[in-house]
Symmetry: C2
Subunit: 412 residues, 2 copies
Amino acid sequence: MRLSKSFIKTLREAPKDETAKNGALLVRAGFIHKEMAGVYDYLPLGLRVIENIKSIIREELNKLGCEEISMTALQNPEPWEKTGRFADSEVDIWFKTELNSGGVLGLAPTHEEPITNMLRTYISSYKDLPLSVYQFQTKFRNELRAKSGILRGREFLMKDLYSFHDSEEDLDKFYAEVEKAYNRIFDRLGIGDCTYETFASGGIFSKYSHEFQTLIPVGEDTIYHNNDKSLVFNKEVFNDEVLAEFNVDKADFAETTGAEVGNIFKLKFKYSEPLGLKFIDEDNNAKTVYMGCYGIGVSRLMGVITEKFADEKGLIWPESVAPFKYYLVGIGDEGTKKADEIYSQHQDQIIYDDRDSRIGEKFADAELMGIPYRIVISDKTLSEDSAELVSRATGETAMITLENLAQTLAGK
Amino acid sequence: MRLSKSFIKTLREAPKDETAKNGALLVRAGFIHKEMAGVYDYLPLGLRVIENIKSIIREELNKLGCEEISMTALQNPEPWEKTGRFADSEVDIWFKTELNSGGVLGLAPTHEEPITNMLRTYISSYKDLPLSVYQFQTKFRNELRAKSGILRGREFLMKDLYSFHDSEEDLDKFYAEVEKAYNRIFDRLGIGDCTYETFASGGIFSKYSHEFQTLIPVGEDTIYHNNDKSLVFNKEVFNDEVLAEFNVDKADFAETTGAEVGNIFKLKFKYSEPLGLKFIDEDNNAKTVYMGCYGIGVSRLMGVITEKFADEKGLIWPESVAPFKYYLVGIGDEGTKKADEIYSQHQDQIIYDDRDSRIGEKFADAELMGIPYRIVISDKTLSEDSAELVSRATGETAMITLENLAQTLAGK
């Protein structure tokens, strides 16, 4: 991306009502634009981060044989009425609207009901099971307050996966596979070290669910962890009964705050029973399908990564999600000529700051945008046949020969 | 894709209320699922078609230097009130909803107002112009009737591009580039031959806009074209005054029906003036930004392509948008073994029908799904070191040596 040709620019100030660090920084760095509290547009750099997060999740889910679909936001009340979840008294974050031709619709805050309902068309026999289906889809939640930037949106992007099984054992097996896939995903996103699988409350059909909590100071959840964080509980299940069950002592646990970036849940019959999702088993008996659901907050992850790594100079992106890996600046005639040449050969990886502005401003923008590596080529570095390479995360500065730089950019 | 592992199956019947050919066929072939009139889910094969269409559009727009973003569905009334378009009396297809914290919101039927409003942050000087920004985004339109399948959705996917200029000449120049890009896009989508650029009504600031109309019997627009279709008018501008302006005779024009797959519009000051989108020119004068907008109906295109090519056996996809290029069937022990081997090497291009079902059913599904080429490998074809290759579009059948097949699949 050539900055001189892009419409984005960094901003001196975030919107006055933007109190969250992630929201303020991402707006200032030109990654997102605030439409209203909890509702943000994704600008070119922000959209690239989102797409990078999606790609990592997609790859790991496809390895499990999950199939990608895309369901609708507009929701017919019928399947939701069968589970009792259309009533505002049960689910208080619905956005509702009316059809001109008559009738109330909802905007999906999640998709258990429509996916369960839809699969009645596709599941009839044990031969159709197991199966697992996911989507990256915009969810709508009518939050009373939305002051956490993109950590809690009224309109936000979620990956939701649903699995369908003919037995509890098969559900358990797949659930364990998703646990592993989620750990791989958070590792690849650069937050594996600070993201913990946490016991959380279950439902009618299962005692616990699991959340993946990334430790950040502004996380909305209170969690308790033991010394090596091998055992972590959400506050909602951190009580004497549970401690006794796990045979652990309250005194060995420390309190901290986490942001829930994923959750996995053994639903069993919670939705398949009221919605009548059944299959015929080998003995010709009609049985209710076992279900699991598995979410990851995609846009929330962008906010969590921002909160986790940003410093006083701005954003810091892990390489795997960074919109571009390099930020290139040419200084002087020869430096600029060389920079032009390098950019033309590696456009996909580089933000090229070819704007007519002061070097100090360019360096400040490179830091604010959080691009992993800054490359500077000047007449001085060229006199050593080299470029300067600065790591955003560590600040480490090194000279790299043009030959090595070419090889690095070519991925060698 | 291994059909035995996929949740999709073809259906004997479409929903009873599905009267449109495109809707009925796409549901039966397992590409989409109907939630309600005008509201459809995209299943794995349907989503692949949508992604293929998006990729072609994205490539052509990126060549023009357009930047991709993603705006929100939820809309603050304020910018729409400035143009008078929030009132239901002006725009009668709004879905509206209410914030729990108070206030009415709309679900965007289009995005001229929010993009114009947003760019007030990013445009201040003539140096910031020109620029062009696009998105693939879900639009909501509260249509009173929605009986045309995915040709007219209440929730549908659109590509909308907006351009911003410091002069009318620059707008004209970019508009001409988009015209060419649109022609390339429709060519690549396989409908170039039957898609015509059509004069349609303009607005306050321009006499005409242009539509791209694909000739299909169920198209909602009435259009008039001359002999070689070099001059085409939408009915709304086909009158004596216009005919005189173009110096042509009504008698030389034939009436037909088209589906609007794209439109391009010189907006000039229509939105920039009421929303106050200005720039400072070289002489330090504040001037209003010139704008253009350019739409393509992405999900509609999937319906138009269906209507255009489908026959009595089912769908027929042009190669460029087909979810997979090949449909593979193995017959007999050796044939199945060889098919397994070929599938394992080229999974991305192949639907492998490895289900335990009759050959006739497999062939019928291959036709219903409209996959461009069916490959059959049997003990008989293997005795000639060959496979049978059948074109879905032409029905042409040929034997291909396994060596040539391997080269074809490898893209050589």
